[in-house]
């Protein structure tokens, strides 16, 4: 048997790429430049598409090819381009100003990863039939990306970087969905994708309109409504 037919090899590749996804996520937490962040998000989505493709190839699940293709087109291609154009067009200061400083943020991200491993441990089914469900490493990464994405949203005051946090959070969700079950039934995935896409476009428009009205995308200035 050649190595490209061996499911074990596929699993190792997936684990490797999942680890890279996590590394990129932590990189985004430590990065101060918005454009770098957007590009890192693009690379992360690309890796996600590769993971989906690998799963589809080694497990003969044709409908996951769709997930791979949609991720590649929208999340790795279209969204980063749109977001970068938006950044260039509204000429904001290109630096992310987190509430918590960078070293502490990275520490928090590390703690969240630890938490994710603890949570995913309880999901492990050791006596599961072979070929169903990936090693719990991938799930742990997915939960970690989800949690760190959440932390990014809370930690950042600029509207656009919050949107970026939301998109990362959804990347983690997608990784969880494909790694847990080899993809939910196709109809759901298509629904998810359209919603994610429309949601991010809506947010981008909203960001633009906020910019028009406020002359700044600082969300911490959105604080007139209280009580």
């Amino acid at each position: 048997m050649f190595f490209w037919q061996d499911p074990q090899f596929g699993n190792k590749m997936i684990t490797l790429m999942a680890a890279l996804v996590l590394v990129i996520q932590i990189l985004m937490v430590s990065q101060r430049w918005l454009v770098t962040n957007i590009r890192a998000f693009g690379v992360q989505s690309l890796l996600l598409a590769c993971i989906a493709w690998t799963i589809a190839y080694f497990n003969h699940a044709p409908h996951i090819y769709w997930v791979a293709a949609l991720t590649l087109i929208f999340k790795a291609g279209l969204l980063p381009v749109v977001l970068e154009r938006l950044v260039a067009r509204i000429e904001i200061r290109q630096e992310i100003e987190p509430f918590v400083n960078v070293p502490l943020s990275v520490l928090v991200a590390g703690m969240l990863t630890l938490l994710a491993y603890v949570v995913s441990e309880s999901f492990h089914r050791p006596n599961e039939p072979a070929g169903h469900g990936l090693g719990h490493n991938t799930l742990a990464v997915a939960i970690a990306v989800f949690l760190i994405g959440f932390f990014m949203m809370v930690n950042r005051r600029k509207a656009l970087s919050q949107v970026l946090g939301l998109l990362c959070l959804e990347n983690g969700l997608l990784l969880a969905a494909i790694s847990l079950t080899y993809g939910m039934p196709l109809i759901v995935e298509v629904g998810i994708f359209f919603d994610v896409l429309v949601a991010s476009l809506l947010l981008a428009i909203l960001v633009y309109r906020i910019r028009e009205t406020f002359d700044s995308m600082d969300v911490s200035r959105l604080s007139r409504l209280r009580g």
């Binding site: 699940a61 959440f150 949203m153 959804e170 759901v188 998810i192 359209f194 429309v198 947010l203 009580g227």
Partner: protein, 498 residues
Amino acid sequence: MIIIALLLIPLLASAITAAMRNPRRMELVYLLSAVGSFAAAVWLAGEVLRSGPVAWGNGFLYADHLSALVALLTAFVYLVSAPYAIGYFRQEAKDHASGEIIDEKIPSSRLRLYYSLTPLFGFSMLLVTVANNLGVMWVAAEGTTLASIFLVTFYNRRNSLEAAWKYAILGGVGLSMALFGTVLVYYASYPILGGENVSNLNWSVLVDSAPRFDKTVMRLAFILALLGYGTKAGLAPMHTWKPDAYSEAPVPVVALMATAVLDCALYALARFYVLTARCLGPAFASQLLILFGLLTIGIAVPFILQQRSYRRLLAYSSIDHGGIMALSLGFGGVLGPLGMLLHMTFHSVTKPLLFFCAGNFQQHTGNDSLKKGAGGLLHTLPVSAPMFLLATLAVTGTPPFSMFQSEFTVLRAGFAAQHIGVVIVFVVLVVAIFCGFFYHASQLVFGAPNGLPRGEFSRWKTWPVIGLSLIVVLLGFWLPAPLYALVEGAARILEVHP
């Protein structure tokens, strides 16, 4: 077949109005879609009562008593808000023409936005109620957020952008948690149901095999679903988008958001509750629901007591009632679900009335303040002001109004479940809310004349108010037998015995 009609009517109306230019014709299509949806929902409820659950397309769409009830309530609110919306926007346009409101103009393209997005909004909510697949239900719930973001920014003011931003971000995070919960339910069911079949995520399929699901996974799935759909329902501490969105969106949209969206979100949560309670026994899910429900009611109290704007006052009242419904579901047993659904039914009739009256006040006086020159509205608005007082009494659960009966059922459910401490706290909080709410309402309605011209704007705005008031009074004395049968059947679906 009737399920398809229920969904197609608002969807078609949305497509038609999107292509129109004349506001009068948009109004007509919108009104027809509301009447049509309500007729379809009544028909569906009748069908379910006569011959049990209705399904379409291999169980892709599925309506049991619970779906039919929530669809009926959603369609009802959509129906009553339609004529009101017409009057509301006509007055906006007229005020603009006479130059009374200068900060914002209402061009007809903006009206088209409203008349095409609102049916889409209604469509998504109705899809939540009849989608059998938990994934499709999630897509529809996300659809309600997407369809309503630009309704919140309708006035394009600074504050409405801020409100829409909070709404979109919190809604996005919340619903991604709900999706994670859905994925985990699929994972928990995978070893038992197996296969890559679309129908494996159908609630009607899941519910029978729920006791054999993976228990650890279901526990996490319920927590995520509670946080996710709880955000949509406005359970504390994820409620902060509600007062902002409710005070910035146009009143007819708010009436839909405060009742129909709340019902749909709690409906989705209840579906997860049944799966979890069957898998783990009711104790785990109940405790969480009681905790979040009580916290939600508690958080509403200080904000109601010292509120400065009546739109926000109503928003906190809506948060409070969402908490009561979650609490009642948490009490469980036979009476808990019954109390929740009765409360949902009565709330969906009473809350739009309050919002309509408040909308009439706001358009008449030009602000929604409780302090600045407010008061004496009884002298200027001869219909809306007394009806507001009536609705206040009804919504705070004063006898003989119907919400007293449902809150009483919640109390009995709490005693039956032997949560005496929780019940005592609940009663204290409800009484505090009654005092605060009634104080503010009487300040607003009574008092010296405020010098504004006397008279209501148009029949479009007074008739929905009068009609709803009649229904509110009537429901206090007489609950139609078919409606009660529907509520009872729906409550039986949510009953889980240990």
